[in-house]
Symmetry: C2
Subunit: 217 residues, 2 copies
Amino acid sequence: MNDKTNSTAPATRRVLPKGVRKEQLIKATMKCIARYGMSGTTMALVTKEAGLSLGIANLHFESKEKLLLETLLHVTGEYNRGQTKILDNDSDLSVAARMEAILQFDFSSKVATKDKVAVWFAFWGEAKSRPTYQKICSNTDFMAEDALCALFNQAIDESNYVDSNAAIIASGYTALVDGLWLNMLIAPKHLSRKQALQVARDYLAAAFPHHIKRTTG
Amino acid sequence: MNDKTNSTAPATRRVLPKGVRKEQLIKATMKCIARYGMSGTTMALVTKEAGLSLGIANLHFESKEKLLLETLLHVTGEYNRGQTKILDNDSDLSVAARMEAILQFDFSSKVATKDKVAVWFAFWGEAKSRPTYQKICSNTDFMAEDALCALFNQAIDESNYVDSNAAIIASGYTALVDGLWLNMLIAPKHLSRKQALQVARDYLAAAFPHHIKRTTG
DNA sequence: CATTTGAATGAACGAGCATTCATTGGTTGC
DNA sequence: GCAACCAATGAATGCTCGTTCATTCAAATG
């Protein structure tokens, strides 16, 4: 009655559309990377996590390499789409509202999940030596920073902030979010999602006091 | 005439003190992690990079696991010692001078080396799944943040900054430095050491305007 | 219901890797 | 100059893991 196949008996073999199987395997891969790390993630573990047979990953993806790549694209794509949706000029939100939405988004329970952040950093850790990963990771960051830069320039125009450099602030905000994610991942006891959000909000409040107010207390 | 053994003929076999060999191997491990990533780093590559025989790593370190651990400790230890030297109350630097020294240190060519930062993130990427790595990584960050917190509190006392929270600022600065390192590693073309330093300085200048001046231009 | 199709399976294979250890030879003390 | 010692070597070993593919079986077709 439940699709969540996982361990136990071989059950009855089901045939499902390719898209469903791929998603199943990508989800399992994320879980394995978060739990066992990049180098501890084996095909046997991934397929077991998905409740499927060993050979299936090579059937739907061509190789382990490709499965990992699509997993990275899944995570980065999700982030980019979410951010774009907030910053796209089609939405009728004010500049201030968009800033607040970005803050909420970056530290939401949908984006800043332990599993997803772990995947993020697992690939970043390997990026230096894998040109393909490096390109995807840097591109994601670059696009995010660029979109923020546009928003910040709007804010500067609106409120005549003096001596403000949108590019520098966007660079700082992007780095700050990455760093906060890292610290939440490594030491969740020491830095909660709420605290991280406060740090990030204070950063934007310092740069754009007319748009974002510091957390009080 | 040169100690830099590297590739080529077997040369003459030399007997060297344990400490020298260990350092040789740790240096080679860092280079391999930076070049081939954590999962691409093999004992064969490390020992070849060091210009030594395959078996030597297991002779001086007990296993690959231990070699990797000591490599991590080498990098984190170096950072901690450098930071402590600057912040230790024994030095007779002013609070402002210490802040400036920390900025210079965090983006110096000794600390923010590509190789070292790559090692840093390779381990961070695996930390989630390896309790030992996690403990070392989080401890390093925790100590660094704590020391900064003390310095920032001194600054707050000195200049009566209102509504300033040293812990939040320290948390933010630490995360910012981590994030900037990450972006320098992934996209050095996009973020230079100099630019990263500017972003970090602007962050401290916003929090402690009487101590640190923003970069002009 | 019989037949065809191709998704799904998992045993078997082989490449790559960490680790071992018998052998080599540089170094030290006599 | 001669042993005795032990750092250093690297071929050999055994294990882990990605990949293959003959076989199985659920679903679609007529």
